[in-house]
């Protein structure tokens, strides 16, 4: 196939051609020519803007590959809303689309991306951290005129990874009499309810 010669034409020139063709061409052929010219304007505008990737360009020309509801409904509503009446309106619609469709389609953000408040961590221990140098009622170290008083604390939630079941090793001191071999074991600080596994562990 022979490579075509690149033609530059203004919108006014294209409108003149369409006006001439409207009188001389049959209606069916006129509509075809109108569509071809509108496509030409659309493609040239997109290429001149140079913001269009090949993939996005393909999607614009041939539509989305998937049939997601938002893609299908968006396309339908756009077609219903912007039906061109004549050639000038078609050209204007193409120009508007070229400006609007450059950006990504606005998606509604998915829910469930918020954070939990510190009050939601009811099972977590609370550590009160006091200021190392300043107490309530002291002079302000910055201006040295006013006094500082208690304000609502800044709350940080620190989440750390840990094993589901923790273990503590207790080493109980044992004292043995060298003469009579009596053994005295220190009591464990913590008391558990009687549990077979704990007993087994202590016996070993």
């Amino acid at each position: 196939m022979k490579e075509p010669e690149l033609v530059t034409a203004t919108q006014q020139e294209l409108d003149e051609i369409l006006a001439l063709a409207k009188t001389s061409f049959p209606h069916k052929h006129y509509e075809l020519l109108e569509g071809v010219l509108a496509t030409f304007v659309f493609v040239m505008l997109k290429l001149q803007n140079a913001k269009t990737s090949i993939k996005r360009f393909q999607r614009m020309l041939f539509g989305a590959r998937t049939e997601l509801k938002r893609n299908v409904l968006d396309a339908d509503t756009k077609v219903c809303a912007e039906q061109p009446v004549d050639a000038a309106a078609a050209g204007a619609a193409v120009l508007d689309d070229a400006v609007d469709d450059g950006d990504k389609p606005a998606r509604k953000p998915k829910p469930g991306h918020g954070r939990n408040a510190a009050g939601a961590y009811s099972g977590a221990p609370i550590v009160e951290c006091e200021h190392p140098r300043i107490d309530s009622g002291d002079r302000c170290p910055q201006c040295d005129k006013g006094r500082v008083y208690d304000s609502p604390p800044r709350t940080l939630v620190k989440v750390v990874g840990q094993a589901p079941l923790g273990a503590t090793v207790y080493r109980l001191q044992r004292l043995r009499c060298r003469l009579c071999d009596a053994v005295f074991t220190a009591p464990c600080r913590r008391r558990w309810p009687p549990c077979p596994s704990t007993t087994r562990a202590v016996r070993r």
């Binding site: 840990q162 094993a163 589901p164 079941l165 923790g166 273990a167 549990c195 077979p196 596994s197 087994r200």
Partner: protein, 36 residues
């Protein structure tokens, strides 16, 4: 906790054993039956 993991979250004992071992707090599956 073992009962919650097993009956609430569907975590079998052998899987919990592996998890505990990887965190250097070993708890064999046979031992886990004791507290349950």
């Amino acid at each position: 906790m073992i009962a919650l993991l097993r009956y609430g979250c569907g975590l079998p004992h052998f899987r919990l054993e592996g998890l505990q071992a990887s965190l250097y707090v070993p708890l064999p599956d046979a031992t886990q039956w004791g507290p349950v």
